[in-house]
Symmetry: C2
Subunit: 202 residues, 2 copies
């Protein structure tokens, strides 16, 4: 069992919430969503579980807060990806960033798109962060569509691109590609090759 | 609780295995892989659990047999999709068939690509059926790649296409698209639009 880290001085209110979320994410990426328990997280951060319950009403509250945090990070990673190159190449880099997010934060990725967080989609913080991530995707899609003024076409291309990287990330995480010689640790090279494969088409 | 169906006469050996798998798949698509229990399946088919254990050593054996059956069906659905049109259009229809498979057999789809079946991938029956499905995908990819003799290019295009439809199927099943006005029941139209969106690109 991991030793509790006892903080030298009491946490400032906002800092404790952050510390609890960070510890929760660590557990999440190691053991998956089923491994999350507010009591253990509190113990590892070195506070009473009453203090933890002060920040998250219950496990569902913690899951929602984690999902909101995950979508915020995803949006920021996608934006950083897009800045790595101009135009269509920037959109490809956004895709590479999506797969990298899943590879580096597997538990978080599964939680964000899993049934528990889907049930909490009405939560305004999750909603806002999901919308922000989707806006970045739409902006990117506008750079690769032949008719950027056609919103319907842009949305369709965005959904296509999202499906592609979501599927690749899922197949890699779920160990469906290792017998094709494709390992999760090579996610960046694989994502770049798969995204560039559009140039191989008729 | 569902009533057990009592068969009028004893099952022929092969027929009982088939009946158990059919009942298991029914439960799987309704309640997911966690809902599978060999005892309940035996009861519903109207045989003793000893008779069921004669066909499947344990729950893992049942999961493997289900996954093998799933990949066999998937291969047959993909081949049927490809036959609906020639060339690139046929490859798109294969994609529509993949998403339709997931939409119609959600529990089976999750089982096939989930951790339990991945652990059983060494099973020769699963292996053979996965390879058969992948061969159909490769054959299709060869019809849309600019250099059909280039095996590396064909594999890359196949992985790209698989990722795309796997991602779309997952997003639909995991209820990630309903707030974009896209419902699982419209999977055929959505898949066709997303696949055709390649013509919207620059």
């Amino acid at each position: 069992m991991a030793k509790a880290r006892v903080p030298k001085r009491p946490y400032h209110h906002g800092k404790l919430r952050e510390a609890l979320l960070e510890e929760a994410e660590r557990i999440l990426n190691k053991r998956g969503v089923d491994g999350l328990a507010l009591r253990e997280i509190a113990r590892r951060v070195g506070v009473s579980h009453a203090a933890a319950y002060h920040h998250f009403e219950d496990r569902d509250g913690l899951v929602c807060a984690l999902a909101a945090r995950g979508f915020e990070r995803l949006a920021s990673d996608l934006a950083a990806g897009a800045r790595r190159a101009d135009g269509p190449a920037g959109f490809d880099e956004m895709g590479v960033a999506y797969v990298a997010f899943a590879a580096r934060r597997p538990g978080m990725f599964r939680l964000m798109f899993g049934p528990e967080a889907a049930a909490g989609r009405a939560d305004p913080e999750i909603r806002a962060n999901v919308d922000a991530a989707f806006s970045i995707l739409l902006e990117g899609a506008r750079t690769i569509v032949a008719t950027p003024g056609d919103d319907r076409a842009v949305r369709c291309v965005a959904l296509r691109a999202w499906s592609l990287v979501h599927g690749l990330a899922s197949l890699l995480l779920d160990d469906q590609l290792s017998h094709h010689g494709l390992a999760l640790r090579d996610h960046e090279r694989i994502a770049r090759e798969v995204l560039a494969a559009r140039r191989l088409l008729l």
